[in-house]
Symmetry: C2
Subunit: 492 residues, 2 copies
């Protein structure tokens, strides 16, 4: 397979699909819509997991694990949630295969092993978790209950794309229960803040923090908080959501608690999640026509060192120096890999690590040993320089911080120059078609208008940003009064 990528300008979508596969992040599997996350892609996901997990625990949450399957009847309990999710799901109907009497060597479903009640492979776990919480919550002493789960979920998607929309994906889902409405709202907002901090500081992706309109809310939520990112092609991507669920699930599953005075009431709930979709956001925010560009915080290897040599003696001399460099780098917390494979030439290694987005590349040859130098290449800027070997540790350390900041600022500049205020529907359509990005427009607050705008432009409301002040205006579509602007965009 050629390592050369389709350029973004040529075909952004094709560029993305090729990049994911060629950079060894993921690939399609033998199962329709399900992906294989390859070791390099999974190593990035592990870094995300580790940091998020640390942040969840720091904010008082514990992990637990709930069943993969949800009995069909539990889905029926929360009406809106059932409407929103239970339809396009993988359904387990049988529990046994048997040898096919008509086809030796083949298996068939054993018709006698039909389940009394079908099991749905979880598309999300509110139903199974709230049926469990009923047994865990009796009194105010059991609250708040602050639980997170790392798990796989399945939603039967018709059109799938690696990381962005797959039938099975990996995610975390937080599910919390509280004694008061105010506390639950605070929790939902806090977790949206945690997501925002993580995505901005760790992934170097700027986001707009806000609330969803009613029609874009999670099925069963009273309020959905979200963070929205902007990809290089001007399309938005929902990077995380946090839901205030009111007492909807508590009522559906009859989860009540006794307060200090012994009075019983339904508990208040939140749920919040991010998924392997973040990998898609990461790729589409930073990468270029040469391949993946990784922020140092997420790079499995922040530095790769490549020896340039002809003889075994030369390699030995280089290796000795490299061992020292690696030791020094590791001592200051830098992850570094010495690519001394003798099965590939330096050029092939350069190309591979560029494609895979390693932030810094060091090349050391025989002449470098004589001169006390090393060639240093930055992946994000594709610039090279020859620098002193003696001060390489400090140089690398400071460059990694620089790259992390530069990537964020570059994406921020793009994002900020792609939020466009419009005051008519003509302008709305024109900006969307020519410039893309977020369109800030007044809207009359009805789902009907959202639907019509979506039908005509494919743009949806992304969020009502926290930063937007109330502002009197008229809906760009209907001319009816509006009290605030919202952000519209075409989205992934």
């Amino acid at each position: 397979m050629s390592k050369k990528l389709t350029s973004r300008a040529e075909d952004y979508s094709k560029w993305y699909n090729e990049l994911v596969v060629k950079a060894d992040l993921a690939e399609n599997s033998a199962v329709r819509g399900c992906m294989v996350i390859k070791p390099y892609g999974y190593a990035i996901w592990e870094k995300m997991q580790a940091e998020l997990d640390r942040m969840f625990k720091e904010t008082g949450h514990q992990n637990a694990y709930f069943p993969l399957f949800v009995p069909k009847s539990l889905f029926e309990a929360e009406e809106k949630n059932a409407e929103g999710f239970a339809k396009e799901c993988a359904v387990v109907t049988h529990y046994r295969l048997q040898n096919d009497p008509d086809n030796p060597g083949k298996l068939r479903v054993d018709p006698k092993a039909k389940l009394e009640e079908e099991l749905v492979v979880r598309p999300t776990s509110e139903a199974i978790i709230w049926s469990t919480y009923k047994g865990w919550i009796q009194s105010y002493r059991d609250l708040p209950l602050l639980i997170n789960q790392w798990a796989n979920v399945v939603r039967w998607e018709m059109r799938t794309r690696l990381f962005l929309r797959t039938a099975e994906f990996l995610w975390q889902e937080g599910h919390t229960a509280h004694a008061t409405k105010a506390e639950a709202i605070t929790e939902a907002e806090l977790m949206n803040d945690v997501y925002s901090t993580f995505v901005q500081n760790f992934m170097a992706i700027p986001v707009v923090k806000g609330r969803k309109t009613e029609s874009e809310r999670f099925a069963g939520a009273d309020e959905t908080y979200c963070i929205e990112a902007l990809m290089q092609d001007g399309k938005a991507l929902q990077a995380g959501t946090s839901h205030f669920l009111g007492q909807n699930f508590a009522k559906a599953f009859d989860v009540k608690f006794a307060n200090k005075e012994g009075k019983k009431d339904y508990v208040w709930a939140t749920s919040w999640g991010v998924s392997t979709r973040l990998m898609g956001a990461l790729i589409m925010t930073h990468s270029d026509d040469q391949g993946l560009v990784l922020p140092p915080n997420l790079a499995p290897n922040q530095v790769v060192i490549i020896p340039i040599y002809k003889t075994d003696e030369q390699l030995e001399a280089i290796t000795e120096v490299v061992n020292g460099v690696m030791k020094d780098l590791r001592a200051v917390g830098v992850t570094v890999k010495f690519d001394n494979r003798d099965t590939f030439r330096p050029g092939a290694k350069f190309a591979q690590h560029e494609l895979q987005g390693v932030p810094l590349r060091l090349a050391i040859g025989t002449r470098d040993l004589e001169n006390g130098t090393v060639e240093l290449a930055r992946r994000d800027t594709l610039t090279k320089e020859v620098t002193d070997l003696a001060t390489i540790t400090e140089k690398v350390k400071s460059l990694l911080t620089q790259i992390q900041d530069d990537l964020y600022n570059k994406a921020l500049l793009y994002r900020d120059t792609h939020i466009t205020e419009v005051n008519s529907f003509e302008e709305f359509k024109e900006v969307l078609e020519t410039k893309g990005g977020f369109v800030s427009a007044h809207w009359d607050g009805t789902t009907e208008t959202e639907d019509k705008i979506k039908e005509l432009t494919k743009a949806t409301t992304r969020c009502i940003p926290d930063s937007f002040e109330p502002e009197e205006g008229v809906c760009v579509f209907t001319g009816k009064p509006s009290k605030t602007r919202v952000l519209f965009a075409k989205a992934y």
Copy 2:
């Protein structure tokens, strides 16, 4: 629910079931045979995961993720594996539910949404992984391929018990590919060693390392290495297995590689796994009639501190001292929790932490502040002493090491005194019935004899220990010649 446990002597099985639930480790769910792993239980599992993951990476393995579903036809590819696994599985036959026209508010399977090919929820991932490896392996440069996956798997078990045998469980499964038979065998042995080191050093559970007899091998394996542990009731528990798969899966999925000379051959494979079953082994090795006993390496909280006070002023004074103690303990890597909940009395807290197996408990009251003392209680020995507050950090640190060692040595003594050599079938049966544990006996090497012994005694061959030297003898059952003893036991 009463916190008092059934004693082990009274009913070991009931003791186990109650302990798992009352210590907040896990519980049964609304889904038949599937468990909920509660936060406290999951925190222990996370500690196991973290250490195993570190050991896998240290031995050169990378994590990846493969689909939850396996198309039925992939199961048919490796005949023995299909025989062994494909039968009792959860089978997805449909991908959509719909509103039931006959029952408003109810859902039913959409008959139009039937899958062309049924999907099996993975009982293990050899089939899906080897169908993927076919695309990854072309030449010797792609080998060895050393991959591990952390995942959930489902086996439709009829009789389930929390952690020990559940329909869904969590595990890791390593799947490696190698250029030579010798290298694959070395890998399978290495991973069995990793398991043995982990279970002994980290979980404080002594194991017998060895090989399975042919009839007890993994379906599709040429050799199964295993570690066998002994529970307090004299029954064995298979704690981990590592399989040398020969070229069986490579042949089934046509995975060939070109060597340096360009010659093509099938690759050699291994797979290896441990699961949440280890939680069962942990519980049944160390715990007592008072509840869970945790080795310090696996305790979510190694130390709990409980304040004994009447007034807010007293609590304040105690808190100030405790904050200093916690800071010092954390500085030396000890995990410590200050249980200052005002919703429970000290007695209730003592009982809870005892039930949950916290290795060390410190109680500090007003008089302790005056005397510069603290009450220190060991969970494993249930002993208490009053000790100096000034030297508490060193004391705790050394006691935690002591407890870890003591637990291992106690279990080792039990295990070593429960390996009994027998030389007749009468003796075999008597030892099994009266003393339990491992029975070391000569056996003629046939599956037929194993089956008969199992039928008569419920004991199975557990392993041929690595430590056993060849020894001429006669089978205790048939009198036929035997070249080595094997270990039999009743097992979980």
